[in-house]
């Protein structure tokens, strides 16, 4: 009881997120957040994967599942670019850090979703991860649009605990977007107000890239690269 494993344990083995939560939210708020997340995921010792996700509404589940798949798509792209691409040091550093963040986001979303989590899709990047210029374009597009998507979703989430988590990811996606835009040689900002974009818009971007293989065999053509 004293050492109740929280949702952060898996996500944050070194305790950095917890530390920053404690530091920034204060004890009362952190407890509330952890309790709420634990409630959402019904996270109990030894039974983590069992009942996890049970407390989420259908609406929040749909949103988080979409985001989880999106994080997988991006995280895998960075991992693969690091493995295959011939990246300048600045691009390599960004891909390393941003990729690690996207994996952490995927892990966080997976943990919140529990049993309702979706497995990673099959991705085929059609060679863009092998070329720095080809890689930066979709990387920027996905970061810009993910920040926009999280804005659209923020006001549609039922759970305020999930909203708090989404907010803490949202500004990081905006940071990624600005970082990669600067590396790509374009202005890091767009206008004074970043507008939201719907899931339909994100779906259009994903479809336009053809990064999601319809079924595993499509990706298998390019094996072993596609698994990231």
């Amino acid at each position: 009881m004293n050492e109740r494993p929280s949702i952060l344990d898996g996500l944050d083995p070194e305790g950095r997120v917890r530390e920053s939560l404690l530091e920034t939210l204060g004890i009362g708020r952190t407890e509330l957040l952890l309790a709420a997340l634990a409630g959402a995921a019904t996270w109990t010792a030894g039974h983590a994967s069992h009942a996890a996700g049970a407390g989420l509404t259908e609406n929040d589940t749909r949103i988080l599942r979409f985001d989880l798949q999106l994080e997988y798509l991006q995280a895998t792209m960075y991992t693969q670019a690091l493995r295959l691409g011939h990246l300048r040091p600045a691009v390599r550093d960004a891909a390393r850090v941003v990729g690690a963040h996207e994996w952490a986001h995927a892990h966080a979303l997976k943990t919140i979703l529990g049993r309702r989590a979706v497995p990673p899709g099959f991705f085929d990047y059609h060679g863009v991860t092998e070329d720095e210029h080809a890689f930066l374009r979709p990387a920027v597009a996905f970061e810009d649009l993910t920040a926009a998507l999280l804005k659209y979703q923020a006001i549609r989430l039922d759970s305020r605990a999930v909203l708090a988590a989404a907010i803490s990811l949202h500004s990081v996606e905006a940071r990624h977007a600005a970082w990669l835009r600067r590396i790509a040689g374009v202005l890091p900002t767009l206008t004074a107000f970043d507008r939201p974009a719907s899931q339909a818009k994100m779906r259009d971007l994903i479809l336009s890239t053809h990064f999601v293989a319809e079924d595993p065999t499509t990706g298998a053509r390019r094996a072993p690269g596609f698994t990231g």
């Binding site: 404690l22 305020r160 988590a165 600005a178 767009l190």
Partner: protein
């Protein structure tokens, strides 16, 4: 329920809050984060929105003035100049938006004094990093306290602050994004950090 090692922090935070907000260390008109619940997940309401957005307005006033003055006196050149110009224009747009939204409820700007930060490009850049990161954490911390319409507006502003933060951090050779999740600061912490900059005159 389970005693936490960080528990004293709350006490310290409360003391700080009293010191900053309650004791008159700051002139009454310039109390920046006053009236905002420190506990998060306090039920959103239009009245609470107004208090939070007024807090945001104070940050935007400060940033807008900071960039305007730095452009005149900090000797900025190259991309740092471009950053100050672009970010400054954004902050002015944020001020205008919040003033319009708040109408007669909008508070006036606190008395400001930027000292060396607007007289030297390096100090300017360091201060810009502090202010932009501070704005991100402060906005983030209030997200769950806002009604949905106010939240919709706040997130449009806050990701622009995050872009500024990333841009100027990269410019000075700092990692634009240091962690996977940005912090969510309480009003007390944000106010404290703001007062620590020394830019708001007591």
């Amino acid at each position: 329920m389970h005693p936490h090692p960080a528990a004293p922090k709350t006490t310290r935070a409360n003391m700080l809050r009293r010191a900053i907000v309650g004791s008159g260390a700051v002139a009454a008109g310039a109390v920046v984060g006053a009236g905002i619940p420190d506990e998060s997940f306090s039920d959103p309401s239009p009245a609470q929105d107004a208090r939070i957005l007024n807090f945001a307005l104070q940050l935007e006033y400060l940033q807008a003035r900071f960039y305007a003055e730095a452009l005149r006196s900090a000797g900025l050149t190259g991309e740092l100049h471009e950053f100050a110009r672009v970010a400054g224009a954004h902050e002015r747009a944020h001020v205008a938006f919040l003033e319009k939204h708040l109408g007669r409820r909008a508070k006036t700007a606190p008395p400001l004094r930027f000292g060396e930060a607007i007289r030297d490009p390096h100090r300017f850049a360091a201060a810009a990093v502090t202010l932009e990161d501070l704005a991100v954490a402060a906005y983030n911390g209030q997200g769950t306290n806002l009604t949905r319409p106010a939240l919709a507006a706040a997130v449009e502003i806050l990701s622009v602050e995050a872009r500024h933060a990333a841009w100027v951090r990269d410019l000075v050779g700092k990692l634009p994004a240091t962690r996977a999740q940005d912090p969510l600061w309480s009003a007390t912490k944000a106010t404290h950090k703001l007062m620590q900059t020394g830019f708001v005159e007591a």
